[in-house]
Symmetry: C3
Subunit: 352 residues, 3 copies
């Protein structure tokens, strides 16, 4: 894998400053890249490394190029250009077309000849695996599940029965798609299980992180639309629908029947309670809890700011007294009359 700088420039529409014939054999970060590697500068936080970089070339914007002492690729969005170029240099383990001798594949399964089924996989009746898809070692593909073309399932992924993946879907190790939704009705002798009869439908170009779980629908499918990116340890419950190109960071939890719009960003560890709707273009910051539908795009937060615990304890104590503090403040305002309430009586009917 080696490319001349001019070739790389052409791939991302960059202008070359320096030697277009320079050979690039890999990528690295500004601080550690070697003279045959390409680095990039997208965030001002890393600009301090630009002067001393030993990279062969740096992808950056024209504004900062003058500080660069090595060759440059000038682009408008260095992070995106680097994304494209980085993929030229990734070396994934080889996968050989065909079914490994130790895999257990039901006769009724349909595996494309160009697909690769890893060691000790289990593929049940009626399952399908499309062209060039790679199924890692120890994966379990349930009855009637369908995997499109150019998918990659890493090791030990579990697809229950009735799970459908589009094309170019990546699922990382240990993820589980199609387990029963958490549906129980309360009865006199305990919980009564609601049968989970729906499936899971994953769109094209979705990526799903390690140990992430996406439950099957109760009736009808749990749906993840095209282009969605899901990090590790995320939980998506039965009958949720995640809109196209939404990104969900690690450890987030989406409860049952939630509808998340497209191009949303759900922060790490955030939670959405059941049966709510979130509009397109909403950002939820990390570890925030969403308990009501959100109708407008924008950024939303819950929680408090980190403090030294001794100081936090005092704030937290007063938080528990806020209603009382508000009453005390109202009492003071009344004593002081109209001037204290800004020249008009407040309309707060909760006051004492």
């Amino acid at each position: 894998m080696e490319y001349r700088l001019a070739e790389l420039a052409a791939l991302v529409g960059a202008a070359v400053r320096g030697d277009p014939a320079r050979l690039i054999r890999g990528v690295g970060d500004l601080e550690h890249a070697r003279p045959d590697q390409l680095a990039f500068l997208a965030s001002p936080a890393y600009r301090r490394h630009l002067g001393a970089t030993r990279a062969g070339a740096v992808v950056l914007t024209a504004e900062v190029a003058d500080d660069c002492t090595v060759d440059c690729l000038l682009v408008e969005d260095p992070y995106r250009a680097f994304a494209t170029l980085s993929r030229l240099f990734v070396e994934l383990p080889l996968s050989v077309p065909g079914v490994h001798a130790t895999a257990v594949v039901a006769q009724e399964a349909r595996i494309h000849a160009s697909a690769s089924i890893g060691a000790q996989c289990t593929i049940e009746a009626g399952a399908e695996v499309g062209e060039r898809s790679v199924i890692g070692a120890g994966c379990r593909i349930g009855a009637g599940s369908r995997i499109g073309s150019d998918c990659r399932l890493w090791a030990n992924v579990v697809l229950y029965h009735g799970v459908r993946l589009g094309d170019r879907v990546t699922v990382h190790a240990g993820a589980v798609l199609g387990a029963d939704g958490f549906g129980f009705a309360s009865g006199p002798e305990g919980w009564e299980k609601i049968a989970q009869i729906g499936g899971v439908a994953i769109g094209d170009d979705v990526e799903i992180g390690a140990c992430t779980t996406i439950d099957r629908g109760t009736l009808g499918d749990t749906v993840v639309e095209r282009g969605v990116k899901i990090d590790n340890q995320v939980q998506i419950a039965h009958n949720a629908r995640i809109g196209a190109h939404t990104a969900i960071a690690g450890c987030a939890g989406i409860a049952g029947s939630v509808r998340v719009g497209s191009r949303c960003r759900i922060g790490g560890g955030a939670g959405l309670v059941g049966h709510i709707e979130v509009a397109d273009g909403v950002t939820i910051t990390p570890m925030s809890l969403v308990t009501r539908s959100i109708g407008e795009p924008g950024t939303y937060t819950s929680g408090t700011v980190l403090q030294a615990s001794q100081r936090w304890k005092r704030s937290a104590l007063r938080f528990g007294e806020l209603e009382e503090m508000n009453r005390r403040l109202r009492r003071v305002e009344r004593l002081l009359g109209r001037a204290a309430s800004g020249g008009h009586e407040t309309e707060d009917t909760a006051g004492c």
Copy 2:
């Protein structure tokens, strides 16, 4: 799988309104059910779909039956009746009694003849699998672990050694029972491991979600009592005890030696710190943190409400100043005298 409406009615003690001979071949939701399917209406939020439903019949209460234009099953608790009826129509993948040729089963293991051991399972010495239990592909059953009758372990479940499951226990894919508890003593050269010598005991009729982890006890068992339902990605630490019929939603974490009562409801992402006790009948709302024992049934919450982030930032800033705000309010009250403090001096000794 097809049933006459009268047969279904008999199973849940419902009154039929309409044609008792109508054939039902499946279940669906109000909005999408077909004329040979049964739907239900339990929540007012979905009542708007009742008028237009094409379902063959709907399970609902007598109060709303007049709005229903198709056949009805009248019951007091439609959600629970539907739970019972839904299970008639679930089609699980077939499991054949016997041990799959690729499973590795220790000679000293005892597998009931009616049990089904899936492909590429590993079952170690002294383990037992009871009548009609189904062990999915790729499960690992440790030495001396015991699985009762009518259990189902989905694919890639791991039971360490010394884990006991009762009867009718379901464990979803990727769950891990019996890993070491997180026990270390601080020493001059780092952490010293405490041996984790206890086991895990799971009662009858428990369901455990995908990628959930339940650690073995340090000394003595970690215990999950009968009828408990646990969602995906839950963590239950060493020596915890979960009371009968408690439900724990996704991503919740229960720390070491916690005792949770029976019929509690632990919300998604909630956390319980170690060595506390929670009474029977307690509900913890999603993502709340429990740092002290709870002696009374009821519903408990921590955290703040979601706001647009710009507005939240101002609230969060003031949260950090709450102690100071309280002091300022006390100063104002003192200036204004007894009238400001409601006619009596407050007893807050933390005041300035």
Copy 3:
């Protein structure tokens, strides 16, 4: 496994009070230990069990020894002494050196003759497993990954390619090391993947919990230094670095490029956002969110205290009005003049 009390005392530098020849055959807790078992007392919370214990001997400090009616081992740190002694009595499942017949091991892999490779493992080309290391059933070891000596991987662990473990590393079942970091650049047609080219480097004496995920670096490694202890269901993102002897409790999440110092304690469910640095010796309490670098050792917290939900709702409502409450208080203070503001004008420029 049996030891005389004098032998145990010698291992931890304890003074024996009682019969040095007493035989000890196991460990237990104060409440349940039998006469041939050793118990310990480290926390005042359990002192009430001391008088009635039936243990053969108890590890405790001299201060409380007079309340003990059975034999004692007197030490300064009973918890640590018990940790050391507990490990004498743990009975792990036997592991036989050699490669199980059902494992699939690439010819180019290097497995030490004393190592044990479990049933249905997959070990890819260029991987190495060191002396006496035990690889559980169903583990997947990617191309070029290296496992040191005296490691133990429990069942169904996945190491992607390019993951390196030091010596004496324990990885619990279902953990995934080396999955792609969550790196995407936003483009006009959706997210563009950043190739994840780095690896994972785990130091000596690290323990990693069940279903924990540690992603590979984008460029360069994700690093977990020696002696770190990580609980279950933890997520560590690409290019994070965790300092030596830090402990991370269950369900915590560490975002990308975070640097955590040494001997830190990260509470259960806590979250650290990306690109921050945490000094040595910092404690983060459970479910706290860290959004900025922490330069000083100490204990830090975010969130609020649990309340009965009805009461909490009022506090939470007022939290959303805190900025307005502060303005109202400022207005009152101005009306009352210098005396109200403690004899000096406050400098809060945010006031009305």
